[in-house]
Each structure stands twice: as structure tokens, then as C-alpha cells.
Amino acid sequence: MSRVTKFAGRDPGPAARVAGFIAHLRQNGLRLGVAEADVALAALTHVNAIRPDDARRALRAVCTGCKEEAERFDDLFDGFWMDMGRVKQKVIPKQTATANDDVHSSRDAQGEDAGASGSATAPDAEGGEADSDGTGKLIATRQRNLNRRDLRDLVRPEEIAEAEAVARRLGAALRDRRSRRRIAARRGDRLHFRKTIRQSLATGGEPLRLLRKKRPDRTRKIVALCDVSGSMSVYAQVFLAFLAGLLRADTAADAYLFHTRLVRITEALRDKDAMRAIGRMSLMADGFGGGSRIGPSLMRFADTYAKRFVDGRSVVLILSDGYDTEPPAQIDEALAKLRKRGCKIIWLNPLKGWADYAPVAEGMAAALPHLAAFKAANTLADLAALEAELASL
């Protein structure tokens, strides 16, 4: 049987299908505008669109914009165009069912939007299977929906606003004082007299171009890695708000979640709408509240993203309780590798706030020698109180 999706006879045609596909990508978090649908359609006329592989390649070039999107694209493409020959019920995006099932919070009813009977907002039949054979879209069953946490239930908009203020202050504290020396700059506050005169020699002593200098901003970049494994889920509310606030307050900041694997959430959290950003993050945080593999996650970070985003002017914030299911040597090795990049590592452990806490967890003990600071953080107030300490790093 061909895997290619069969479209219904009443389907308006290729333009609507492409529009439907763009809507499908948009639902899945790709940021695509109206113009992209136009370009996608134009692109298909330049390749042999009958061949699925060519169409796939053309659409991938048009619709993706970064590595992560390019990696996800194949699944999304298959989901829409390669639905094992099933007739696609819904091609044109409808106002009533635009949101993705996976992003619905518990406030909305869950349901399948492709069953022949019933609508997206009506409860589905027992067992979560399609009503009739061959016309259903394969989606997750109710069981799986329950397993997946919607992070929007955990975080409130006010908290994000509050966290944003805290993050802004922390960021300001981490950016160390500006240098006394002045360096040449395009838009400096003073004239760079020596350079101006020197360059004026080329124009016979006429200072045609006035060169400037300024005190350089020695910004520190914050990279936050947040543990969202089961043992950390009680603190998730604070930390997720903090991450959302951090990325909104600081355009250079970078954020990751890890449980049994590592996910970069910077792109998702940069969304202008804070709650939508958290919603998009829920999609990525599949596995939230599960086991923790801190060592391998940190190692993966050191081997991949850190090479691109961490340098001597970065501060790596790790928000975790240090309970790792993997051997502690891995944490040790990963942090040593990270430190070699010249960054400062700060570990915020919610357990440290407890009266008789000692870092006896093997993972935590292994991490200690590499840390520039090891602090407690349970609430936003705790995070705010770190300001003074971080400023002295």
C-alpha cells in the first residue's frame, strides 16, 4: 500500500493542501508566515512535486530555519503527507480546531479532530481509537496525553513577570563593571584622537573621518540548565518561571531542560507571548518528571551546544538537586570539560536551603570542586537574594 495520503474528492486542490501543510507545521511550533505558503507553492512548481522525496526536500528548504527544525521536519512531513493512505479529513485550518491536541491545557477538552464523527472539542470514544477504519489520523491515546504534563498548569503569568524582574537584576549583577580603559568603537562617546590623527595622514592632514572610542561593555552571558526530573518537579514552578523570565529579560541568555535527555528551549521561550512560550516548551519537555541522567545530559551539553554558545564570558547556571542515576564520574568529567571553556559554573540546589543539608549525593559531591558557587534556591525570593553574591564572582 502506498504511504501517500489520499485527499478527499471535495478537497479544493494543491494550494489548499500546501496551506494546510503550513498550518500543520505552524501548529507544531514552526514559525511560518503567510509568505512562506506562497514560496512553498512556488518551490513545488520548480521540482518534480509528484515525487515525494523531491517535494520533501523542496519544502524542507523553504519551511525550516534552523537545525532543530530541519531535524523535526521529516516526521512532520510524514505526519501530513504520508499518512499510510488515509484520507485527510481536515486540510484547511479551521478556527475551531487550530490548537494542537498536545498543547491543550486541562481547561480544554481533549479529542481527536479527524474522526468522521465528532469534533475536536468533543470527548473522544473509549480507548482513543479512530471511529472508522482508514479515515482517522493517528494520534496519541488518552493514556499518553495524561502522561504528558502541560507546563502551563504549573506556571502563572504573574510569576513570569516577577521572575523576569529577578532575572533582569541577576543579569545586571553578573555583567561585571565596565572597563576603565576605552577602546575604539564605531559609536563611542569620545573621540579617539590618536587614531583620528594617524588616519588623517592618508588624507594630507585633514581629519576626514572622526574615530571614536568608548568604555567596552563586558557582558556576561547566562546559560541556564534546568533539571526537570521527578525529584525536581516540586520546584519546577519556580524554575520554569525563572527560565521564561530570564529569556525575556536578557536577549543573550540561553536555556536548556534536562531529565533523561537534554533539550534546548531558548528558541521556544523567546516567543513574545509568555504563556504560549511555556506551551511550546511543554511539547519539547516530553519526559518531564521522569528519571534524571544529569551526567550524560551535562556531557551532551559540553559536547554540543557549549562548543557554540559557551565561552570565557559565560556563566553556566545549573538548577538541580544533584540526584543522578548515572555514575558521578560523568558529572565530574562533564563539568571539567565545561570549565575548560573558561566559563563560571554556578549550581543552584533547592535542597541546600534545608537545615542539615550536606552534599552527600555522589553526583553533587563530584560536582563541587568545579563550581564557582553552590547556593540554595527554592523560591523566586531566594533567586533574587543571590544578586549580591553573584555580583562578586
Binding site: A43, V47, D54, A58, V62, C66, A70, G204, R308
Partner: protein, 291 residues
Amino acid sequence: MTYRALQEDMAACGYVASDDLAVALQLALSLGRPLLLEGAAGVGKTEVARTLATVKDTALIRLQCYEGLDAAQAIYEWNYQRQLLTIRAASEAGETGKTVEERIFSREFLLERPLLAAITQDVAPVLLIDEIDRADEEFEAYLLEILSDFQISIPELGTITATTRPIVILTSNGTRDLSDALRRRCLYTYVEYPDRATELAILRARCPEVEARLADQIVGFVQKLREEELEKTPGVAEMLDFAAALMGLGIADLTDDPAILQSTLTTLLKTQSDQAQITSEVAGRIAGKAA
């Protein structure tokens, strides 16, 4: 032009392009949109532009981005020295101010930098904007206007509209995130390290004198080496250097002499810790596995 034809043309020039890349390039050509190539260092992003220029038999104009790159270095600049000499000469000849002014702010006194040069060519050139992630965000924003309208306004002279629309290739190593605005205006392809068959084809195309068995060993060795924990993974260019080094030393089989193999690894391993990690035993083991 189908992408297969483009792929064959590029292969004739020594560049083996994957299907994904070929389709993206073909679309960039037919839709007239810039193409953003991302990928690790050494996968052959810059080479794409160079080959495309050869295939299209047109000029390659390259703008290497760096921190602090500004409009004067990327777009245009007035030739101050020449303007000044003209003023001096004019004042001796007794010319009036107005005519001199008109003269010194003409195309004659304009120094074309890569972007202006790219839009004023008779034949559409390939414009390579290399490592765009190294440039400042403000420069990236400046680029948006040029990439969408292909025109440049010079206050003293007016707007210069493109005579031809250049084929634009942007590359990025991902040292920082690029803006959404830039990404939206470009087609996008992530360039991976080539798979074994592709890499072998590249080696064949570039160094046809390497004997088949050795070529297979070389590619196998480099592919296995990429799986090791290295600080700097060797790229395609390094693989070609490695092959050249082996040819130069007259080695016919990688497994023959671990000591000589170790000495040629300087072409592949570019940091001290990587060199320390791949000892001659490790290299011998990898060569044995690859053979």
C-alpha cells in the same frame, strides 16, 4: 534546470552535493532567494558557493563577516584621498565650489565594497556572505534590506538599484543565533558531514590518483575518527589533506606502519588534546577497523 542536472554539473567541478543540498540550491536559483547554509566547520559550505560560481561561469564575490564589520567595509566608501587631491587641484585651477562638489561625489570616487559590487555586475555573480554569525546584529539587520530589495541608497548620490540579482549564499557556523527575520528571508539547509559513499566520491573527484583500496581506507578511517570524542572533528578539507599527505609519503596501506600513520594525523587533528588522545595504538586500531 532540474536538480539532478545541477548536481551533475557540480560533480563535474569536483563538488559532490547531497540531494537535499542540490534541491535547495536549485530552488535558490529559480526562486531568486538567498540560501542559508548551516553546519559544522569543514563540511564544505564555502565550497558550495565557489563551485556554483564555476558552474554558472560567473564571478564569486565574497564578504567575510567579522565582529565590527560595518557598512563602509561591506557596501561602499568614498575615496577620501582622491577627493582631497581633486579639491586641492581644483582650488589651484580656480574652480568654484559647486562644480567640484558635484564631481567628487560621483561614481568615479566611490570605492565599491563586496555588496555594492555584487549588485552592479553585468552578469549576476555569486555573492558569498561567509560566517554571517560572526557579524554584529546591526549588520545583519542592514543586510535584510539589501537581500530583499537589492538596492543601496547612498545619501550623496541617490539610490543604486541592482542591474542584476546576485545568487546569494550565506553560511553560518552557529556561534550565535541568527535573527528570525534573516532566517525567514532565506531558504535553509543544514549541511551534515558527508556519508561514506559521498565522501568517497569527493575523494575520487578531488584526488583521482589515490588508488581505490587506499581511498576506501582513508574515508573509512576519517569516518571512524569522527565518532571518537574529539574537540575538533575533522572536516572534508582535512580528509583531503590527509589523503595528500599519505600520497606524498608514498603510503599504499594505512595498516602498514602505525608510526607513519600517526605522523600524518597532524592533518586531521588540530588540537593538542586531540593529538594526545589519538595515540598510534588508537590510530592503528581505527585503521584496522576501517580496513
